[in-house]
Symmetry: C2
Subunit: 547 residues, 2 copies
Amino acid sequence: MTDTITDTDTEPITFERHPDSYRHWTLKVDADVARLSMAVAVDGGLLGDYELKLNSYDIGVDIELADAIRRIRFEHPDVKVVVIDSAIDGVFCAGANIRMLAAASHSHKVNFCKFTNETRLEIEEASAESGLRFLAAINGACSGGGYEVAMACDHLLLVDDRSSSVSLPEVPLLGVLPGTGGLTRLTDKRHVRRDRADVFATLSEGLQGAQAVEWNLVDEVAPPSSFDAAVLERAAALAATSDRSDDGSAVVLESLDRTVTIDTIDYRFVRADLDRTGRSVSLTVTADAADDWALTAARELDDLLCHLRFNEPQLGTIVLRTAGRADAAVAHTERLLAGADHLARETALLWKRVLSRLDLTARSLIAIVEPGSCCVGVLAEVLLAADRSYMLDGIFEDDDEPLPPATIQLTAASAGAMPMANGITRLESRFWGAPDDVAAAVAAIGDSIDAARANELGLVTSTPDDLDWDDEVRLAVEERASFSPDALTAMEANHRFAGPETMATKIFARLSGWQNWVFIRPNASGPDGALRKYGSGTRPTYDLNRT
Amino acid sequence: MTDTITDTDTEPITFERHPDSYRHWTLKVDADVARLSMAVAVDGGLLGDYELKLNSYDIGVDIELADAIRRIRFEHPDVKVVVIDSAIDGVFCAGANIRMLAAASHSHKVNFCKFTNETRLEIEEASAESGLRFLAAINGACSGGGYEVAMACDHLLLVDDRSSSVSLPEVPLLGVLPGTGGLTRLTDKRHVRRDRADVFATLSEGLQGAQAVEWNLVDEVAPPSSFDAAVLERAAALAATSDRSDDGSAVVLESLDRTVTIDTIDYRFVRADLDRTGRSVSLTVTADAADDWALTAARELDDLLCHLRFNEPQLGTIVLRTAGRADAAVAHTERLLAGADHLARETALLWKRVLSRLDLTARSLIAIVEPGSCCVGVLAEVLLAADRSYMLDGIFEDDDEPLPPATIQLTAASAGAMPMANGITRLESRFWGAPDDVAAAVAAIGDSIDAARANELGLVTSTPDDLDWDDEVRLAVEERASFSPDALTAMEANHRFAGPETMATKIFARLSGWQNWVFIRPNASGPDGALRKYGSGTRPTYDLNRT
């Protein structure tokens, strides 16, 4: 397979955007309605030499969409409904760009799908948790990933112009899946009967008009002449179901303060030290009393995780560390959990999503708790997200002025406010099937938990003393680097999600697991596969064995 | 990738076995204890030139295990506990044979894992549904797939001889997953804390003795001197928890009556007509009044599904048909559901498992209901397992003596007795999120449902009349053959399982999805991948990108 786009031979992808410089979207706020209009710049591809025709998208388009949603949540508490439409005549959105997919590395394809899935799921989470309704105003052809964006919305209104359809043409035309939640949402969210889902997902031209409504593919249709009026009417009706209100606590999301060198990425409260030889990165989040700590640290951690996923694929292990003031971490966490204002509530939800992004990051996560650590409040969730953890029992004897032994301090943040994608807490996932152990950990909320007690409570994997510490931690990180990166990704994806599955985990596991497999098969990505042959006039050549 | 074992260049794999000719197991029944001892014939590999050392296994070994469990269920109702041990000194079981895996085609690896998973899950289902307890008497080294067999048992007793351990060395040594339920059972069944699961599954030498008990990897240990006594004692204790009893209705499983030609496979009640050009197979189950119909038809259907999976990978579509006497299908189904004796109960459970095997078969399933069909009772579940279905509205006008229009007749078999792997019925999966539609179908139990009403109830996808019938059915089958086999497999695996997930679906979707992906990656299966390099003295070369 010849990859013409890899993760490393292009400029690093950045994840900060601002509406003033969006290339693909316009965001207009009018009273309680925000209109997010897609008009993808054909020459605006972020990664290579492909044309983003017909509102097809690459990662750059989705980064802007994610930015817009986040800004509406934080900066526009007066907005109650977001209308997503297209500014291009006759086309709503054609989905992920096929030339981009055909040229992208396997790693990029998988990370692209994961990020876009996270963005779609945030649309649903914003509706469920923040009362922000989404209306897909499908004013033109809506196919593939375009229909998957629409399905993430609360309400789908399709123009009934005898030509615009919704469709999922991936299977018949491209030999891949509608992998951005499409298949899962058909059956599990929109309750499309499975045989109809089968027909629909193999029908490249899709369905339109009354039949699209009958099959519940869309919620309503409106003729072109009254489409705009129908959008306004429906937006108003959706707004009426929202309890969102502006309590004056909105903040503007300022640019992040980030300094990058060859082996460090330094934000105000988050820092990464890259060890390219050892293929690991040390990631430290520092608690601070600054008023904006909770919001800024979450945004910085999020930015860093996206950066590492896309731009540093060979750094296979993230060593998670914390630092700073415990009292600050407690105070910030309590403020978030009290949720007294819009800002606190949205910041708590942002932490929940960032921690979920961490759970879903395909890197080994090893947490370190040592003198100077601040494994407290929301930062204790960073510890609990790790695949394994090491806590020093005692002090570093040889230090000139040894810091006191580390402790862990759990807060209510670990007892329900920050659920994982599987809908349960990290403690419940950790102690799956052992509710007494969950209860014991919850009963320890507020305590300063030293290494011995952390071990007893099962909160950490290992508690070496000063004598064994360096070797044990070093060997754990070195060992990880010696294993197959694929096997690690797959093992961790299983161990992290004990117990129940949700629509989100079905998307990230069942659907994406199969999509990852399909992507790597020659039938999709090989020189004669469907992704490469699409639009060439030549049919793909398939290995006909069913597996 | 050079595959030296494919599905088609060897003799077809057969799935019927008999204890008298087992090559790898001995089955001894003594009062209420069956002992199933593994002693894999080193030269008994089914597929190629590899040595099955140290009780490592290939599909042939597992086919015997599955046969033994089925025979114990049907032929030995007096047995209350099955002891699985090894007849080889110092070794319990080394898991799947690595040379076999390294040489097998991707398709064979995936089907091998699926079949072995079905066998492990049957052990658990036999315990839950038939009161048949399983004791893993781990009298030697137990690694990889060997430990996965053990974990499927109710109780794991490990010899404490300071050398025998349990281990999952797949990730550190082979670059693949413990994919036969290993990772899922660690966290979801045995409730091993996720960080301990991480440590354990990266520790090639595994754990033994007291630590294996402390981590709940095994249930107890016993020293070599008292191991045999401990096995007997534990077997007696497990037997005491069983309510199994012999009511005289046991049957001996006779050889199936099967005639194979180049394009037909003909059993007494099941028949397959292969269309190699069109890459489909027409599969007909015929209801009959014969006393043994329910048991024999289920065994025949099961045998045929296994045959098609392993030996006919290019026949991508199974066209499901039924025939025969409706009254017989109703009577047999009612007898199964009444469960008045051991035989009826076990036969109903066998139907449940065979229908589940159908749900998990990676082929497009298209059901046909036409004059002469017998879509009744358990055979209605065959219809509901299909990805889509066509029912003729009316009669074939041109027939000399047209048969009357087909009807569907649901029984209580569709309302709970035959759950899918996701724990809900096929009706509930079909109408996920639409409980009124489930209720309407259940209310129609006993009715003769014609095409118009079947359409109204949503039981079939399409109801063409005589004029359109041939074209519509033909086009559906032809279209399927034109799509990427991979994309179809992945799409169907998603659409078939709406709603909840269970440990079984986590194994078949989350775990197996990732394993399929790992298997196809060069890090595992490439010429320098871990599977090929194992035991060569050369370390594998990994693509270091994390995805």
